[in-house]
């Protein structure tokens, strides 16, 4: 368990760094959210000093307490799941995020899983059939992996012509576990999911191909073939060994996919975290932006941890060390 415990330590440290950055940034950067909120309040009426203090209290920027006390208060709030108040939605940030999160997580999990399975399978095939026409998939995959997610999304919108409908259509059906609602969600999530799958699969494909080619030169693969094992089994032996480094590098992949999905959600008006992040940026709703950043970071760290656990489970060497 030691290796795993170390990774958990790294992730806790990463979470601490991210949260501290998100605490310090608004406090050290000139033109902080308080000024913005005061300006907003002044538009509707005169914001006197009591009003300014109230805003500072609300945002946790009480200048009369020291930075350290604010920091402790910030952690106390986080411990209670209190991420502040969103002025644009007039609701607690945490409850807002809880309502956005299922959309994002659903899309992320499904799309990443499909992309991973499809990408690795094609990558294995590309390595195995090297030197034949399959090599022509390589430049195409390179092109797709270099394409920004949101541009791919725009192209799909152009081809299939579906955007801006999600938010409005779904509310036509009653929310809940009934067929029209679920069908509506699926029909509207297909294009965003397809975008993420295509873009992410290309990356997995290239990584898997390169690993597979290296693995195919290992002696055990040669022995497996020399023994006369059927090709399918030889491929299986090689593939599951080539898979290990790909999973070990999942950290980078998941960051890219999450970053890509934020933008894809914006293009498709998909009501997940990314879309609302864009919304909050436009409205200068700093508490919401900050809360979403914290949650995205935690989601990515959790995904990393999951990949680590999977790695320990499937790699006997890691299992022995762990």
């Amino acid at each position: 368990m030691r290796a795993l415990a170390r990774r958990v330590g790294v992730y806790i440290l990463a979470a601490w760094v991210a949260l501290t950055v998100s605490f310090l940034l608004p406090r050290v950067v000139p033109g902080n959210p308080v000024a913005g909120a005061v300006a907003r309040a002044s538009q509707s009426g005169n914001c006197n000093s009591a009003c300014v203090t109230a805003i500072q209290e609300q945002l946790g920027f009480n200048v009369h307490t020291s930075l350290w006390e604010q920091y402790l208060q910030y952690w106390g709030n986080l411990g209670h799941g209190n991420l502040g108040q969103s002025w644009s939605e007039n609701a607690p940030v945490s409850s807002l995020i809880v309502s956005y999160l299922p959309w994002t997580l659903g899309l992320l999990v499904v799309a990443t899983a499909v992309a991973f399975v499809a990408g690795t399978a094609i990558g294995v095939l590309m390595a195995w059939r090297r030197g034949s026409w399959v090599d022509w998939v390589l430049p195409a995959a390179t092109f797709l992996s270099a394409l920004p997610y949101f541009f791919l999304a725009l192209v799909l919108v152009l081809i299939f012509g579906k955007t801006g409908t999600m938010l409005y259509d779904i509310y036509g059906a009653t929310a809940g576990l009934n067929l029209p609602y679920v069908a509506s969600i699926i029909s509207h999530a297909i294009l965003p999911a397809a975008t993420v799958v295509i873009a992410a699969a290309a990356g997995f494909m290239l990584a898997m191909r390169n690993q597979m080619i290296s693995t195919m030169d290992e002696d055990f693969v040669l022995v497996a073939q020399a023994k006369g094992l059927p090709a399918r089994r030889v491929i299986w032996y090689a593939a599951r060994n080539a898979l290990l480094p790909v999973i070990a590098n999942f950290t980078v992949a998941i960051s890219l996919v999450v970053a890509g999905q934020i933008l894809v959600e914006i293009v498709f008006n998909y009501p997940g975290i990314g879309f609302h992040l864009y919304d909050a940026l436009g409205k200068l709703d700093y508490s919401l932006v900050q809360g979403i950043f914290v949650v995205i970071t935690l989601v990515v760290l959790a995904a990393n941890l999951l990949a680590d656990v999977v790695y320990v489970l499937i790699d006997p060497r890691a299992r022995q060390m762990a």
Partner: protein, 424 residues
């Protein structure tokens, strides 16, 4: 292994090693002939030239507008003569024409001029961020890998923490709190670099760890060279392929990040104050925000996206070339079916057909800097001609297999020529 030995026998044997060997430790950069590398270089070169001369060959200023002639005026239904309302018009962008090669925007601006101006900023940010990130990753990775111990633990921890924090969201928050920062390409590049250096650092650390105990580094250490000199002269040159590949990869992701935050409107628009620079993400943002996709005005939003994808492909292809240089096994074209046929090898399976003799030699091609190492190598080679491969470091040209050597095209020919056996 499915080589038809009868057909192998038909190949005239390659002449054995002669006394006259041309050793050229200085590597001569000849034009690489791999189609991937050539395509990558051409793409990168074209964009590089456009980035430099773009502002002079642009037909108009990217900000120039001509509300009279550069848009189509469409009458708003229900206004104008006969309706009792004063005529009111809304503008529509012009499709590509001789005057505007890529048409105009709805703001009556020339798209091709914007595209040329945007190339410069986008490439500049990408390359600058990659440069900063590379310096950071070399500093952290090589130091951690070479020094080891507590330093290694500490530096690796920093790298791992940075690796785990997702880059783009951090970038968004940073750029959001510093709105003026978005307009400064230097600051944007620095922020991107800080969020992307960690991965390369980890790779470099691993490679340095394996280099640290090689004989030539050991020799330098024993002969009393200073630590800094060993790192700079013995270790670092051997990391160059990895650094180069990482530079390209980082440049690619930095450009992606810049375009992404510009698409979110965080990189400063050219109309804001202080004005930001034109970049591809900003063009996409304006197009997307003004319904260019639904309006069918593809000439507005498609060119910047295609440019990003093309430039990205160019960088990725070059990266591939370097990867194949580092790991010759990846060279798909090393022995294509056609070349194999020409050389008289029957190729039934792809398995086991990359005869790289020594596994430890595959990961990297150590360029032995110490002259003594060269002489040692040469001496070994003369005494045992059959062991060519053992010191050829798995370079593709010289895998010491006559049929392969005859069939393989030199793809990355800046290898020491002596490596490839007798010159023919």
């Amino acid at each position: 292994m499915t080589i038809n030995s009868t057909s192998l026998a038909g190949i005239p044997p390659v002449a054995g090693p002669t006394a006259e060997l041309v050793v050229r430790p200085t590597r001569v950069l000849r034009l690489p002939r791999s189609p991937k590398v050539i395509a990558g270089l051409v793409i990168l070169g074209v964009f590089g030239v456009l980035a430099i001369i773009g502002r002079w060959i642009a037909p108009y200023s990217p900000n120039a507008t001509d509300q009279q002639n550069w848009v189509r005026h469409v009458l708003v239904p229900g206004t104008g003569p006969g309706t009792g309302f004063p005529a009111s018009y809304y503008p529509l962008p012009l499709p590509p024409s001789a005057a505007h090669w890529l048409g105009t925007t709805v703001f009556a601006q020339d798209v091709s001029s914007q595209l040329l101006a945007a190339t410069q900023a986008t490439m500049f940010v990408g390359l600058l961020a990659a440069a900063i990130a590379t310096v950071l990753s070399v500093l952290f990775g090589v130091t951690a890998g070479y020094l080891g111990g507590g330093t290694d633990e500490g530096l690796s921890l920093v790298a791992n923490v940075f690796l785990a924090i997702p880059g783009l969201p951090l970038l968004i928050v940073l750029a959001d709190y510093m709105p003026s920062a978005g307009s400064s390409v230097l600051l944007v590049a620095a922020i991107i670099a800080v969020t992307t250096w960690a991965y390369t650092s980890r790779t470099l650390r691993a490679q340095t760890l394996s280099l640290r105990n090689r004989d030539f580094v050991e020799a330098a250490r024993v002969s009393g060279e200073s630590r800094v000199r060993i790192i700079l002269v013995e270790v670092l040159p051997n990391l160059i392929p990895i650094v180069a590949a990482s530079f390209l990869f980082t440049a690619l992701s930095a450009m992606g990040a810049y375009v992404a935050i510009a698409f979110l409107g965080l990189a400063g628009s050219p109309t804001s104050s202080p004005p930001g620079l034109w970049n591809w993400g900003e063009m996409l943002r304006e197009g997307f925000a003004n319904n260019a996709v639904r309006g069918g005005w593809w000439w507005w939003w498609a060119p910047p996206g295609i440019c990003i994808a093309l430039l990205g492909t160019g960088l990725a292809l070059l990266n591939f070339g370097i990867d194949e240089f580092i790991n010759p096994r990846l060279r798909a074209a090393g022995l294509s079916r056609r070349t194999a046929k020409k050389a008289g090898i029957s190729l039934r399976s792809t398995l086991g057909m990359t005869p790289v003799a020594h596994r430890r030699a595959v990961a990297i091609m150590p360029q032995v800097t110490a002259a003594s190492a060269w002489t040692t190598a040469m001496a070994t080679r003369r005494s045992t001609p059959s062991s060519t491969v053992t010191w050829c470091f798995g370079a593709a040209r010289c895998w010491g297999w006559p049929a392969r050597a005859a069939a393989a095209k030199p793809h990355w020919p800046w290898l020491p020529s002596a490596c490839c056996g007798p010159r023919r």
